[in-house]
Amino acid sequence: MSQAIGIDLKKSSVDALIAGLLALILFGPIVGVLLDGYGFKTEFDRVAWIVAIVAFGRFMLSCFLQTEKGIALVHRFARSDDGAIVLPPGHKSKMVWVIPLVIVIGLLVPFIASKYVLTVVILGLIYVLLGLGLNIVVGLAGLLDLGFVGFYAIGAYGLALGYENLGLGFWSMLPIAAIMAAVAGAILGFPVLRMHGDYLAIVTLGFGEIIRLVLINWSSFTHGPNGVSAPLPTFFGLEFKRRSSDGQTFHEFFNLPYDSGYKYMFIYLILFLVVLAVLFIKHRLVKMPIGRAWEALREDEIACRSLGLNHVLVKLSAFTIGASTGGLAGVFFATYQGFVNPSSFTFFESALILAIVVLGGMGSTLGVVIAAFCLTVLPEILREFAEYRVLMFGILMVVMMVWKPRGIVRVTRTGFASRKGASK
């Protein structure tokens, strides 16, 4: 049967041999030699098993790739079509009915889901916000930002410290934190305007670390590693606590039994509306001249400047709009946790947000939403494998880059056409 399709057994055997040899070199010292006090003992049977498994696996894989199905698979990998699909101008998607459906489901979630599920979904939505913010900077404007967590931290600490020092609650800090993060984005944006690629990545990485280190070390203001507690949102002045020192609480006012789930429901609903608003704004921005300017800048900065595009404004706008979205996410994170401390804003967090953007598909809104939920919900489902979380992350990344290098959802955008009077 194998001969009929034309499997070259010799080639497969050579493949298997090479793979086995590599496995021997790789696993020999790691698995075969076991430290025992000051000496060591050798366990060659384990190495032999591993090498045998690798060689056999490679042999089977090699055989499979020579079958018709395998060849088709390889072709899917090798497809090197690149860039966004441009639809003709005025294209209307047939999937428009999905949007109201998603909104209705989204609004129903808190009344159906358990408290645990709700908290996971809230975390997912926070990462959606972060992903959308970074998507503007990285996906659209092409500025690799490894310090995005800095803006997230500014938002979160803005709420906590604003409450502690100025007595400002959730509702006043929500816009203020977004503005603070935007200002921080502009401050970061100015010095890095001349930088590209790797250099920009290093500077932004440094920015993220600076924010975290300031939060740790400026203990008189930020309470250092001890963290600060953050307030909950209020429902028209009604608090979600069991007992309130001033005035009525939410459950007393509505004559409901106390349930700590109410606050999550409320946070969820606000967050959901904010995410919808951000999605809508982003959708519009992409279609506006500024959105096209971002994309043009990503493709060729020199051409943009020779066309009279003010690259300073365009880059800064990407930085500030992206950062303010990150700040919003920070506020929600702080109020959802009820407490912030610097260990929530490590580089790993930045890498996670970047992974969301890359996995989702650079510049693709839908992709970012899907990826954000995947990367936050999956670790919750796979709690038993918590130790292997980062390993699975790595595997997921590698598989994605091989399988779908343009991300989960490839960017499809409607071609832009001039409208009469559009510029007036």
């Binding site: 043009a296 066309l307 071609g415 832009f416 001039s418 510029s423 007036k424």
Partner: protein, 237 residues
């Protein structure tokens, strides 16, 4: 005719290296002026110094009575100067139409439709490919797109950096024919070229640059028959 753009004793340094030495050059209104020279002579440096990339270290660049040598690139580009940069630099992932619309940045979208129709009559190939991604076109079509994009801003002075770069001779001929058509509308053109033969035939006046200095100047015809130019740039025949 008045001087439309004038370089006065322009020096440019890249670190310790002097790329342009006391270059003076005049472009009059309605003229086609060409700058020819070998690789690395400083032609593109001169063109880019108009946009402040690099900044000139001494001298003046006067454009319509104003010294623009210290202005920012986007200021210069929004004041009636448009260029088709070296190596075309179109936006590969945008469609042809979108590329053309990017050219309207300095003047806004008021005339976009009308101008685009005009471009499509000038470059019929672009009309066929209007919704195609620019990277999927041939080199010649991409060059046409780069020129059309520059024209979309209704420039008073069109700057062209090596429009013949990497193109087949027959395509180069087409491109120069189109440039002739554009020039016949009264457009002032400053053409930087290595292809001296085509450039000098098209141009009213020409300058020859060697090692960052203007070595010769004259009308296109004069330079075309000049034995030194023929020897150095026209392959001696």
């Amino acid at each position: 005719m008045s001087a439309f753009m004038e370089f006065k004793d322009v020096d440019v340094h890249y670190g310790p290296i002097q790329a342009l030495k006391k270059v003076s050059l005049t472009i009059n209104e309605g003229e086609i002026v060409t700058l020819i020279g070998a690789n690395g002579a400083g032609k593109s440096t001169l063109l880019m110094s108009i946009f402040g990339q690099p900044r000139i270290s001494s001298g003046e660049i006067i454009y319509r009575g104003e010294d623009i040598s210290q202005k920012s690139a986007h200021y210069v580009a929004s004041n009636g100067l448009a260029q088709s940069p070296e190596g075309r630099r179109i936006f590969p992932k945008m469609s042809v139409e979108e590329n053309l619309l990017m050219g309207t940045i300095p003047i806004g979208m008021d005339h976009a439709d009308e101008d685009m129709q005009h471009m499509f009559t000038l470059f019929p190939r672009l009309k066929e490919r209007r919704n195609q991604r620019a990277s999927t076109m041939s080199g010649g079509e991409q060059q046409m797109l780069a020129i059309a994009r520059a024209l979309m801003s209704r420039p008073k002075l069109l700057l062209l950096d090596e429009p013949s770069l990497g193109l087949a001779p027959i395509i180069v001929k087409q491109i120069f024919q189109i440039l002739k058509d554009v020039a016949s509308t009264g457009m002032t053109i400053f053409l930087v070229e290595q292809n001296a033969n085509h450039a000098l035939k098209l141009a009213n006046r020409g300058y020859v640059m060697v090692n960052g200095e203007i070595r010769m100047s004259g009308t296109g015809q004069e330079l075309l028959v000049n034995p030194e130019v023929r020897e150095a740039y026209l392959g001696g025949h």
